[in-house]
Chain length 434, copies 2
């Protein structure tokens, strides 16, 4: 495929992706009460080999030619990176600090329980020959632990955002716990990958690099960024020069976290969290969010969907294993996080909601297991089971969240944005910012 | 290069690109009075093999690995496509209609004179063996005519936009003439390509496809889009659903024009021109412009710069040929357009300004000659000469525009935005929209 053909293919692809994501998102909202994000996740799977590719393989291959997948991947990474930056910009550190004990407990439980369950599940899965031939029991255990403990951090953020609760204690606690837990899970993945032959320095690089980055950003980085906020306040607007500066720093942070072996989204999120608040933050959201949410995020969901082959799970035995993985995952993550929040003094409603949200694994799981598949850590059958686990735990999140928290909160008037989400389109934040 | 490595490379690349574009743009504004756009064009050349690649070939290849160029290309096409859509959105048809006689005269002169000059220049260049071996005299003539007659349409639009004169008669006339002339030049290129072995249907497809698209959009398309404007007015804001609809239609238009063999920018521009005006147009600009101008357009300039090798022109003889091409091009385009505008009743200042702007060839020339190089129509030496011609005619545009029009207009208070452009950053339109 020539470069010029790639660009032609890209425009058609993006048209199809946005159209299908909006259509499925609308149907999910209208008939199932799912947020737009869940519809877009399902839309991605629909566009891949599991449905569109099954029904019309030639047409699907024509719209998503193999050569064009790299572009889709890069667009997806950019989208998710900027989105997580915006989530970071909205991150309320005061709530995080007020809930630091709960956040630590939830994220430690959300790590410990999955690794305990994995200690039972992993040897069983190894016996079933679902791992690569060269994988050791230790690697299998660490991988299953990471796969169970990871949270759909961007999706969790988007659900909270669509419900308008990002800035509440529930939102800040979930985001903080999710961020800590996911960073830890990525570090564990790095350790596993380090042992699959990438050299032991990979793990050191990921852990030390990530640590140094976070400490640097929270101290020096925050201070270096402060003048940007003052410039914007003084000029009363966000000039292209300031926007360009922010985008340069964003790209460097995303690059740094990708480079050390973690993931661009952490760079984006941490940068967003230390950005000066006020007019700068407001204007950044207003200028970046519409394009990111409407154009770039659907690319992410579609890229993941193209790698998802649900047809792999095609026997009763495999279906049974899938159910076992699913139940183990829900117990080890959702129930454990609920218990941890409850034991550290959160209300039962908040704790249940946190359990429901932390239990959703979404696209972070898909990213993690795609890496594992590529490196030969797991086989295609286990990959497909984990995809199903990710989809089901994510589908569960919203109805459970509604059941445990949403309805009561709405009755108390705390979920003002919810009605709008269910009835029709949530206004792009940019359009309603002051 | 694996897919994951591509994404890592992309973030670093974009950081470098935005940083260099802003730095050179700032220097050009500060010390040479050139608009930001010219600085970014030069920044692209600097980042390519002509300077960065010459001074530090390994570092340059490390930041811009061969495998990553497709991504850069697609990002560039998306950026230029959305940018031209926004230019179309700002296009004032009332001015176009009021100046229809001038616009027709300017664009016809801007086509006729270049093809006359090309009839002399092309055989000479053929004698110098600067064309591909299989190229016929007719093909050489048509190609040189197209290469001389093409206008830096997106750049012209950006210069007018940065000076705040897009909505004046000068702006509308230049944009209309540029659009007509460029569309014709692309059709001629299609005819040439059709004869290089792509099958004669290529030319028919381009001309018929482009014609049908324009007629459809101006009649049925305009009417189909009208409800979007009413929805936005009624809701008082641009919802994600409406933004998604616009983006889907945009992608389809860009795809259609790429598909028939013209270029995505024409799809974007025509769609923008027929979009409903009012709140929808304002909000689209506000939501799409900052990201497009600050992040995506620099990708376009860099991609073109990476293909530019100024080191090819390395002898007195070749330098002489370059000067001849340059002088012929200026006479055939700039002087001819000035004469046409003057003869159809425009003031001398306006006519001179139009000549200066139409004479700039910028990146459209680079796109055109890159295609010609790829298809074996021209050799690398003629390619490099045409790059120099494009750079010089584009560099001339702003000082001449200032000399002929800008200073007087500023004295009369018609160029309010100009001071801001020269002194510092122009505010992103989104930040100052009502």
């Amino acid at each position: 495929m020539t470069t010029a053909q790639l660009s032609v293919a890209f425009f058609l692809q993006v048209a199809v992706i946005i159209a299908v994501c909006r259509a499925v998102g609308w149907a999910g909202r209208r008939y199932l009460g799912q947020p737009q994000v869940m519809g877009e996740m399902v839309a991605g799977v629909i566009l891949g080999p599991s449905l569109f590719g099954l029904l019309a393989p030639n047409l699907q291959a024509g719209i998503f030619p193999q050569d064009s997948k790299d572009m889709l991947y890069v667009g997806a990474q950019l989208g998710i990176g900027i989105y997580m930056f915006l989530v970071g910009v909205e991150f309320r550190q005061d709530h995080f600090r007020a809930n630091v004990r709960s956040a630590a407990a939830v994220s430690i439980s959300g790590m410990a329980a999955p690794f305990l369950v994995a200690a039972v599940v992993a040897p069983w899965l190894m016996n079933l020959q679902l791992f690569g031939a060269a994988v050791t029991p230790l690697q299998a255990w660490l991988f299953v632990g990471a796969a169970i403990s990871i949270t759909a951090f961007p999706m969790l953020a988007r659900i909270l955002h669509e419900r308008g609760v990002t800035a509440t204690p529930l939102g800040s606690l979930s985001l903080a716990s999710g961020a800590i837990g996911d960073a830890a899970a990525w570090c564990v993945l790095a350790v596993v990958l380090a042992r699959v032959g990438d050299g032991s320095l990979v793990a050191v690089k990921a852990i030390v690099g990530g640590g140094v980055f976070v400490v640097f950003m929270l101290t020096v980085g925050r201070r270096l960024l402060a003048p940007l906020g003052r410039i914007v306040e003084r000029q009363g607007q966000l000039t292209p020069g300031v926007l360009a500066t922010v985008m340069i720093v964003f790209m460097l942070c995303a690059f740094a976290m990708d480079y050390v072996g973690l993931h661009a989204v952490f760079g984006g999120f941490i940068l967003g969290a230390v950005m000066p608040r006020g007019l700068l933050a407001q204007e950044l959201k207003r200028m970046l969010e519409p394009f990111t949410v409407v154009v770039l995020l659907p690319l992410f969901f579609t890229y993941s969907g193209l790698n998802t082959q649900l047809t792999m799970v095609d026997s009763v035995g495999l279906a049974g294993v899938t159910v076992a993985i699913l139940v183990g995952s829900i117990l080890a993550k959702g129930v454990a996080c609920w218990a941890a929040a409850r034991l550290t003094g959160q209300s039962n409603a908040t704790s249940l909601a946190i359990g429901a949200l932390m239990n959703a694994r979404g696209m972070m799981e898909l990213i993690l297991i795609n890496i594992a598949l590529q490196r030969g850590l797991i086989g295609p059958a286990l990959f497909s089971m984990l995809v199903l686990m990710a989809v089901v735990t994510t589908l569960m999140a919203t109805p459970l969240f509604e059941l445990f928290y949403g309805r009561k909160a709405r009755a108390r008037g705390e979920l003002g944005a919810l009605q709008a989400v269910e009835d029709g389109d949530r206004p792009v934040t940019g359009a309603v910012a002051p």
